[in-house]
Amino acid sequence: MAPRAVAIIPATLVAGLVLAPLTAVLIRGGGPSALGPADWAALRFTLLQAVVSSALSVGLAIPVARALARRRFPGRSLLITLLGAPFILPVLVAVLGLLAVFGQNGWLSALLGVFGLPPVQVYGLHGVVLAHVFFNLPLATRLILQGWLSIPAERLRTAATLDLPPFAIFRLIEGPMLRHIAPGAALIVFTLCLGSFAVALTLGGGPASTTVELAIYQSFRFDFDLSHAATLATVQLALVAVSALLLLRLPLGEAMGAGLDRTLRRWDAETPRLRVLDAVWIALAATFLLLPLLAIALRGVPGLATLPASVWQAAGFSLAVALGSTALCLALALPLALGRGEPAALLGLAISPLVLGTGLFLLIQPHASPFTLALPVTALVNALMSLPFALRALRPEVQAITAQYGPLAQSLDLSPHAWTFRILLPRLRRPLGFSAGLAAALSMGDLGVIALFADPERATLPLQMYRLMQGYRMESAAAAALLLLVLSLGLFWIFDRGGRADADT
């Protein structure tokens, strides 16, 4: 086994796929340009909202994940699947769903009105954070839940034997696990929030909520200033790089140590107080996350009958793109997870999609038609985007498995083939299923880089949804959004379920 070497090839590939287009845009733009006062203001706001959003998403995800880890209840599995939904929704759909609940004419405002209270004022920094927590709390919850489920059952058994109180268990067992898992989860949420644009602007209420991504869009669309767009994209990458260095170099706590690979049971959490506490956390999270989904579903139902055949056809193309993207993502993620491939993978999420698309266009256009390559490019861009999530799910498990079974494998002189297929992959089933589900669903809901890569014949489902909106067909667009939500969730569920088939979760 030479995990380092195995990881180098995909890491180089991914870094090249991100940095070559960025460089192409920089060169075409004539080198970097200086940042103006408006850019600095955008940078400050972008950082502020990303730090607050990621801290809050991960902070809230910890009690929710703990509650989900130590409770069994009917519908738990369904709830965990549904929790994946906000994250994979197209931005526009999610915003309309959120505002149907939290908007000034939303359900919450209506409820307040019953008691004679004024409507919710959702627009502002708090609105941006609310939306980002809506998107990212479920993701952080899933990543941290994986951490909880990877705690060796033996440790908890020992703790129960010693009759350790919950606080001691947190300090000795859960705390170290969180130090291991939470910084990576925060980093990925932070990176996602850095790239926010339409959400931050709409929920932020105006130009005070200008993000770097908006400045990039403006440079590209309105000023045709590639130099400036590329400079801003480089700044964004640098921010992620610095944060990655800070967060991933933290003393991470050791991986969990060895157990006998059994599922989790908690003897310590059976007190009534903890039961109620967990129930409250689960109920709060479920209400917060599921109500906007319900709003999206209710908006969509009336138009379902009006959906033209082309929308169903688009759903087919989107499925093909999603599956291609998933295969590509896993093919890159597995070898990267064996080594230290995470920083390279983060690049795919940190790069501005607009700049990435422009760079790919510059590189491809002399050799092939960007129109005919639209779907493959979409699949590629989506795979790059979902790579960091896959690694975040896979890497801690790979480390744990290596720590636990590595010595045994060495003493048995196990062949790399046997190690991979007999030991590693079977134990990676859960994170692999989760990663594949996430990659597929993300790709399903993503517009790709349509500004420059749009296929005249084969439109994807999110694209058809936008087209319906642009053609004033709001009811059909809402139905297309519902279809998208159902298909994305379906894909996510199939893969994720496949990964959990042998687990009692």
Binding site: V95, G204, A208, F361, L452, A454, Q470, M474
Partner: protein, 328 residues
């Protein structure tokens, strides 16, 4: 790796299409234009009846793509440019004169441009829900004086053409007072969106009773949905005109076909297709030939449109004022 096989499959399909003998006219157009709910399909069918050619619309962002491609572009004609990009587009030298007689134009303003040919237009306007607003504002001052609980949504002038049109409109009406007027309007602006779709979605979802759109938007609701509750508020000071343009690419390998398409744009066949597919006014069709619903739409007396040099000269200043006033 799936990509090579997928790409190969797609390339083969394209190759078999290209093998046909008929000449191909390639027209770049915005996504909404080529969509099956836009004017693209019907225009393609009507033009192909007359040209013995294959008209292919290719969707995407027009100017960024053209600038990236330069003279190597595949486009013969570009349709869907807006007035705010003409200056930049002209300076590239990528476009040839359209060579059309402009006397058939029915725009509310003089149009003499020899390169960019209008194919449709409308007025930028605030569209409101008549069940929620009894007395719509009849001027910007009226809008500013409305109760603070009447909220509107506008588009960001840095990412949306209609948002930019509003910016220029306010600047043209108020001049040096524009920043103060924006500050006065700010409490009524619930939020600013990236593009038109988000804003209009918030409006139809009932989050706001009024939204920045076009005076022709209600035509869709009336004609297609039988819904008479959406109307445009008409301002006394006049409205900014939103004119969409086509241009012939200088490097075209199909100059005759491109010319034929440019003149087709001004023909009744094209013009009659526009109102009820693009939900805007046709650029070269007498009012009496418009669909009834468009003739009945309330419209302002005055059209405002800054020429490209004037717009370029004030854009950055107006943007700074807007950002300052709305960032408070």
């Amino acid at each position: 790796m799936r990509i090579p096989s997928l790409a190969a499959g797609i390339l083969m399909t394209t190759a078999s299409l290209a093998a046909a003998e008929t000449p191909v006219l390639t027209v770049y157009a915005p996504d909404y234009f080529t969509s099956e709910w836009g004017p693209g399909p019907v225009i393609e069918a009507k033009f192909e009846e007359t040209c013995a050619c294959d008209l292919q619309f290719l969707p995407g962002d027009l100017m960024p793509r053209l600038l990236l491609e330069g003279a190597r572009t595949r486009a013969d004609v570009v349709i869907g440019l807006e007035t705010d990009v003409t200056k930049k587009a002209r300076e590239t030298g990528l476009f040839a004169p359209h060579g059309q007689d402009l006397s058939s134009l029915t725009l509310p303003l003089d149009w003499t441009d020899d390169t960019f040919l209008p194919f449709d237009w409308s007025y930028v306007a605030f569209v409101y829900d008549t069940t929620k607003i009894d007395t719509p504002p009849t001027s910007f001052d009226d809008l500013i004086a409305m109760p603070e609980d009447v909220k509107i949504v506008i588009q960001d002038p840095r990412s949306s053409i209609s948002g930019l049109a509003l910016l220029l409109w306010v600047k043209q009406v108020y001049g040096d007072e524009a920043e103060a007027k924006w500050a006065a309007l700010a409490p009524r602006i619930l939020t600013v969106t990236k593009g038109w779709s988000e804003a209009y979605g918030l409006f139809t979802d009932g989050e706001v009773p009024m939204v920045l759109s076009f005076n022709t938007s209600p035509a869709y609701h009336i004609a297609a949905e039988g819904d008479e509750t959406k109307a445009a508020a008409i301002f006394d000071e006049g409205h900014y005109a939103y004119v969409e343009l086509a241009a012939k690419v200088a490097s075209t390998s199909q100059p005759e076909l491109a010319d034929a398409f440019m003149s087709f744009i001004l023909s009744p066949a094209f013009q009659q297709a526009i109102p009820e597919t693009n939900w805007s006014y046709p650029s070269a069709l007498p009012r009496e030939d418009w669909p009834q619903v468009f003739r009945d739409l309330p419209a302002p007396d005055t059209a405002i449109l800054l020429d490209e040099d004037a717009a370029a000269a004030i854009r950055d200043e107006a943007l700074d004022e807007w950002r300052r006033a709305l960032s408070q």
